[in-house]
């Protein structure tokens, strides 16, 4: 399943810019998620977020923005694979 999202914010600049539209694949159990992938996930209390996978450890994913002020795993820790809903299509 394909979905189009609009990026809100600049924490992944210059890879993704505020207002940019991106195409994403739905992530299933068999989907491969690698370091460098941009993943869409749900995180309370922030809602639907997009960040880049920086580390994978024991099946958990450490996601980060490129901006040092980004709200990401440096604040809320590793996310679960089940939190990841979509993955951006295309080169990083």
């Amino acid at each position: 399943m394909i979905r189009i999202f609009k990026v809100d914010g600049n924490s992944l600049y210059p890879y993704l810019k505020d207002g940019q539209t991106i195409i994403c694949f739905k992530v299933f159990g068999f989907s491969k998620i690698a370091i460098g992938d941009f993943v869409v996930f749900s995180k309370k209390p922030y809602g639907l977020m997009i960040k880049r996978v920086e580390k994978i450890k024991d099946g958990l994913f450490f996601v980060q923005g490129t901006d040092p002020m980004s709200i990401d795993s440096r604040d809320f820790g590793f996310i679960q694979r089940t939190d990841i809903q979509y993955k951006k299509i295309g080169l990083h």
Binding site: I4, D8, Y46, L48, I50, F62, G65, P68, D75, G77
Partner: protein, 153 residues
């Protein structure tokens, strides 16, 4: 055909700078003041002795309060419910720090001051684990030269 939703790529302002090092330095300072208090000798110059003792005690009070304040801010502002689920002892450790810092103000026991540092180090381990940063135990490169948990950067 396609649904267009928004995904957040936000930054935090202010930038969410949290670090346990200030609390660790404060705990080390408490130990150092306890050492200085216990090693002080009266000698012939009583005024100088009293002056030094007053200063050691004042700094010990100040650093114990600072230690509590630094930990309280990280615990209250940074630690979230999901962190508590993963690190169930964080509330107990924080409470221990509050109690031990209070005890450090009341007493001149080195053992109590060392217990304070040990709990602050436990808190630092949890904090850096949440941040996904590895830690290592190192000797502080200054008096009192006790162990501290530092991030591997």
């Amino acid at each position: 055909m396609f649904k267009l939703d928004t995904v957040k790529a936000h930054c935090d302002v202010p930038c969410g700078i949290y670090d346990t090092s200030a609390a660790q330095i404060a705990a080390l300072s408490v130990i150092r003041m306890v050492d200085l208090i216990n090693a002080a000798e009266k000698g012939d110059d009583e005024a100088a002795y009293l002056n030094n003792m007053a200063r050691y005690i004042a700094v010990k009070e100040q650093e114990a309060v600072k230690c509590k304040e630094e930990i309280r801010i990280i615990w209250g502002d940074f630690i979230k419910p999901n962190h508590v689920e993963e690190h169930k002892d964080v509330h107990t450790i924080t409470h221990n720090i509050m109690m031990l810092a209070g005890a450090a103000k009341q007493h001149t026991s080195r053992d109590k001051a060392m217990e304070l540092l040990a709990e602050v180090n436990k808190f630092a381990e949890i904090f850096w684990a949440i941040k996904g940063v590895e830690t290592k135990v190192v000797k502080a490169p200054y008096m009192p030269g006790e162990d501290v948990v530092n991030p591997v950067l």
